[in-house]
Symmetry: C2
Subunit: 331 residues, 2 copies
Amino acid sequence: MPELRKDPIHGRWVIISTERGRRPSDFVTEERRSAGGFCPLCEGNEDRTPPEILAFRTNGTPPNSPGWTLRVVPNKFPALRVEGDLGREGEGIYDKMNGIGAHEVVIETPRHSETLATLPLKGVESVLWAYRSRIADLRGDQRLRYVLVFKNHGVSAGASLEHSHSQIIALPIVPRRVAEEIEGAKTYFQYKDRCVFCDIIRQELQQKKRIVSENRSFISVAPFASRFPFETWILPKIHYPSFEHMESSLYGEAAQILSDTLQRMNRVLNDPPYNYIIHTSSFLELENDHYHWHLEIMPKLTKVAGFEWGTGFYINPTPPEEAAAYMREVR
Amino acid sequence: MPELRKDPIHGRWVIISTERGRRPSDFVTEERRSAGGFCPLCEGNEDRTPPEILAFRTNGTPPNSPGWTLRVVPNKFPALRVEGDLGREGEGIYDKMNGIGAHEVVIETPRHSETLATLPLKGVESVLWAYRSRIADLRGDQRLRYVLVFKNHGVSAGASLEHSHSQIIALPIVPRRVAEEIEGAKTYFQYKDRCVFCDIIRQELQQKKRIVSENRSFISVAPFASRFPFETWILPKIHYPSFEHMESSLYGEAAQILSDTLQRMNRVLNDPPYNYIIHTSSFLELENDHYHWHLEIMPKLTKVAGFEWGTGFYINPTPPEEAAAYMREVR
């Protein structure tokens, strides 16, 4: 059973995944793993993943067989386990609990050569619908408090499989970085009676200099305090606290701006490795006035080093105004 | 002038180093930069660095010439600038200030082939004395609040120069991660009237299972909630809030345990890339009962990916008890 452990000073939680148990020699070959060969996520290899939780299929093909456009399966090497209770306990001054939660993989396309940026819009929209459906389902589990949707694209962004996929992790606690963001948004709201994200959107639409692209309901923007070169956020213009609670008609537009932004990034930076994450409200307050869901894209162009680890402070060599100009002008 | 910008939601600061201004094409060649060729940090090339701030020299050789065992010089491409005032101002809802601070490089040895792990103990001790001397000096600047000492070893840990060196950055604010750690330690102290680090040391010395090595005044330990495989912390057994305020006789022992720990790491993990940082008290409260300086070593064996960025939560595939056992048994 994986273990959740809490740092007694900082209050930060860590997942110690005892079952993957890596020895020193396992790290040496890391870089070579993703090179070529068999792919368990390709169509036809459905028996090489755990049985599917959700799939979009055409022509009524049976589960775990070919004929799908998207599949969601449990992660074969999950960081957290669904079975069991939280088992909160202490060990002297230390606190720990069982690593309860869910860890799922969204296989975004049956074809190995496709990426989220090259998928037709309909395919990108399916991915967003799959996220929504899984979040809504996981919310039913009373032990869980938060769900994070994220994507690692490219080896140096941490992708261990090349085939286009994203991941969903549901957690028994609201993770610190999210809690801090929610807290910050709450404080702002208490002071101003306005959502800080709505204010950001308003100012960005006025100033225009950090806007990357825009459609009727969304903007894509290089944030004022970008941590990374070409960091880009996507936000709905209307105040929606939770990703999974948007009006159905908006997922198509969300797919359009996500696809457009990734394509611009590929053009400007030549298919860079990247991570993206969706930040949404916690299960404890799905509807609220202060938090506003958004998607953060972080191209992996620089290395995070001692200074960042030591301070939580980032050094970004590319001003977001310049990054946005490059991204705006391409296409 | 570099700019400090504050994220309006999270309160996180970022350094936008406008002068380094990286264009999209600059990132492509990143991996190749450190390969071979001329080294500005080697003995004999003193004119290729800015003039030295501090040097340990034998035989009274003049500044900025050969004959040194250690030099401290300003970073040629500083993330922050010493000259100017803070210039705090707003831009609509956003806050920023000038990037005032210091950014220095400690050249740990005149010889290119040496590393901190292969330096004689005397050399390692000199490095720690250089840190102490620079921190004490920077404290005199009323605009500054915190100084971070850190080291990036190896290309994938972010080192852009191969020659063994560490860096010192002095900041006009206490960075968030440090502030949180200090706050956490303060809360613990208020509750228990004991330093949380002292309690950790006590429990680790009793349990023994996460101890890597030990001498009279220090322990080296794999922390209970290690974020990374083989993460190792060094702490003084006696309560010292600030690195630069230890009794003079202790720097030799600190050098011994640092050298010993790095050598063990090299044996177990085959000279891995790593970062280390020194966490010490802020300039505002150099003497206190709740905070305890320490050095955190983070080998760079896994990739930080979407999940970690999204949550501030880490997945560590190697339990610290196993890592400590490997580290203890080698040699």
